[in-house]
């Protein structure tokens, strides 16, 4: 499945919820399901300090694809991380660089990626893109 197809799949999943609280119930479930990052990897250099919540991101390149695991101390942030990882994990750097993560605003969660929200999510996406860019440059 391409990044675009994965985004479309998420948009379709969210289409069944017309109530905000139902939508968040689903995000919370995703947050609870997301496998935790290996505790050894919860190090300072993997930490993205947000004003509201903290995010740990571990990204590596294997077989020319970017492998992602991440975690957060806030469950809603973690649920959204789950969605971002589902879309970007195991993808080629060039596909990540040119991807437009429109699904976040399509499902009404753009506030979580706003620079003023400072929950670490925007920095996480930036970090993934920078990693992809540097992988391309090498």
């Amino acid at each position: 499945m391409t990044i675009e197809q994965k985004q479309q799949e998420i948009i379709d999943e969210f289409a069944i919820y017309d109530d905000w609280m139902e939508k968040y119930e689903y995000i919370i479930e995703l947050g609870k399901e997301l496998p935790l990052i290996d505790p050894e990897k919860k190090t300072e250099d993997r930490l993205i300090e947000g004003c509201q919540s903290r995010v740990w991101l571990d990204a590596a390149i294997e077989n020319d694809k970017i492998q992602l695991t991440a975690d957060s101390d806030a469950i809603i942030t973690k649920g959204i991380i789950g969605l971002l990882i589902r879309v970007l994990d195991n993808e080629k750097p060039e596909d990540i660089v040119k991807s437009d993560l429109h699904f976040i605003s399509d499902i009404g969660l753009q506030e979580h990626l706003s620079p003023t929200r400072a929950n670490g999510l925007l920095s996480m996406v930036k970090k993934i893109k920078i990693l992809a860019l540097s992988a391309l440059a090498n």
Partner: protein
């Protein structure tokens, strides 16, 4: 005490004055519990802003024309309203600033110039970053010692320690009147008296107090008092520094520019007198005038009646939250008002705040610009509901139900 000249307080009536309260968010009636961050504005203030920019807009203090004179008069009249509101002795003691932070920075820079290496400044463990960082910067610049008055677990200053920390080396004590994170009302009169006894000056951060309690700077006998317009139902970008005239006179200007000068040559500049010495450049004229309007709005009411109502709201919210086994209240001082802050076992404050938002309730989550205080409680942050007199018990009931729902979703 009934005062027939005052408007009778009725929360239902008052809510009609605030158009921002009559709206829906995410399909729910807005419950605005983020008054500690900023307050909503009454129609009177909105009309005054509109009136100023539609009819009266002109630069002040220098124009010979009619509009400039009118704007100047209104601006200076606002200064008089502020003087009366906080009961300062003189109009010259009221300096317009951008807000509380700006006022503290002004004092740190200007009064700070009068201090020398080894002098001590004292703040408290519950200060907002804006009453910490300017003093740290000053201490570094002038090689001063910064001391911190400790607090107990309830979030009250340990006054005994404060007394022991005072010495002739103490030059300034800068403390908050009411804590933005805890709601604690500090015994400022006692602090001021003790500080004066060793010859120290006192700055009171009133950002969270002018809107909740009657402030009388003369009775309090503080040397500086700072507050922000936007938290007291006025516009953003305007605030007030009150300072005793004798001290302000001694202090050098903070910023240079127009309006603050008496005569300028390339060789030498002489400075204008108070308050203009500290007001360089074109000020926030509309802000100043409309802050006056906001204080006139508040002045319609008996302040004790508002204070009593807000205390009841706070106590009620606190009692309701105490019924949850997994909720820990942060800030349980005996003397507190308008803030209830809490954490929920095993749940991040951000998650609660996000779900409350989706239920139409505006609260604040995080460290509230008091990171050292959060470190003291060993928590990443709290959920904070902060009230104004336009909030109601019914809103608190809905808030409690929403907290319960959020916890059950997250647990």
């Amino acid at each position: 005490m009934e005062n027939p000249s005052k408007r009778k307080f009725s929360v239902r009536d008052i809510r009609q004055d605030f158009p921002a309260l009559r709206q829906q968010v995410y399909g729910k009636n807005l419950i605005y519990f983020d008054n500690g961050a900023t307050s909503q504005k009454p129609q009177m203030v909105l009309d005054a802003i509109n009136q100023y920019y539609s009819k009266d807009n002109a630069n002040i203090h220098r124009g010979v024309h009619h509009l400039s004179q009118k704007a100047t008069n209104e601006y200076e009249e606002a200064r008089e309203i502020i003087r009366r509101f906080i009961n300062a002795e003189k109009k010259e003691e009221i300096i317009f600033t951008k807000g509380t932070t700006d006022g503290i920075n002004l004092v740190a820079h200007s009064f700070g110039e009068l201090l020398s290496a080894g002098d001590e400044i004292m703040i408290s463990a519950m200060e907002h970053h804006s009453n910490i960082v300017p003093w740290q910067m000053l201490a570094e610049r002038k090689k001063l010692v910064l001391k911190v008055i400790p607090i107990n677990k309830r979030g009250e200053l340990i006054m005994e320690d404060f007394q022991n920390m005072l010495s002739p080396k103490t030059k300034l004590v800068a403390v908050t009147h009411i804590s933005n994170s805890l709601g604690t009302i500090n015994p400022v009169e006692e602090i001021i008296e003790a500080a004066h006894a060793v010859g120290a000056k006192v700055l009171i951060d009133g950002a969270q107090s002018v809107q909740h309690t009657k402030v009388d700077v003369t009775a309090m006998n503080c040397d500086f008092f700072v507050f922000s317009g936007h938290k007291v139902f006025g516009p953003t970008g305007i605030g007030v520094l009150y300072g005793k005239e004798a001290i302000l006179d001694e202090m050098p200007p903070y910023q240079g520019g127009g309006d603050m000068i008496s005569k300028v040559t390339f060789e030498r500049t002489t400075y204008n007198e108070l308050p203009f010495k500290f007001e360089a450049g074109t000020p926030h004229i509309a802000g100043g005038i409309c802050l006056g309007t906001a204080l006139n709005y508040l002045d319609q009411f008996n302040p004790h009646e508002l204070e009593e109502y807000e205390r009841e709201l706070t106590e009620y919210a606190q009692e309701m939250l105490e019924t949850f086994e997994n909720i820990r209240l942060i800030g349980t001082a005996k003397n507190k008002t308008s803030v209830v802050a809490f954490t929920v076992d095993g749940i991040h404050p951000f998650d609660i705040g996000t779900l409350l938002d989706k239920q139409g309730i505006a609260v604040r989550t995080g460290h509230h610009c008091t990171q050292p205080l959060m470190d003291f409680y060993q928590i990443p942050g709290t959920v904070r509901a902060s009230f104004a007199f336009y909030n109601t018990r019914e809103e608190i009931d809905q808030f409690i139900a929403a907290v319960e729902k959020s916890i059950s979703m997250l647990g």
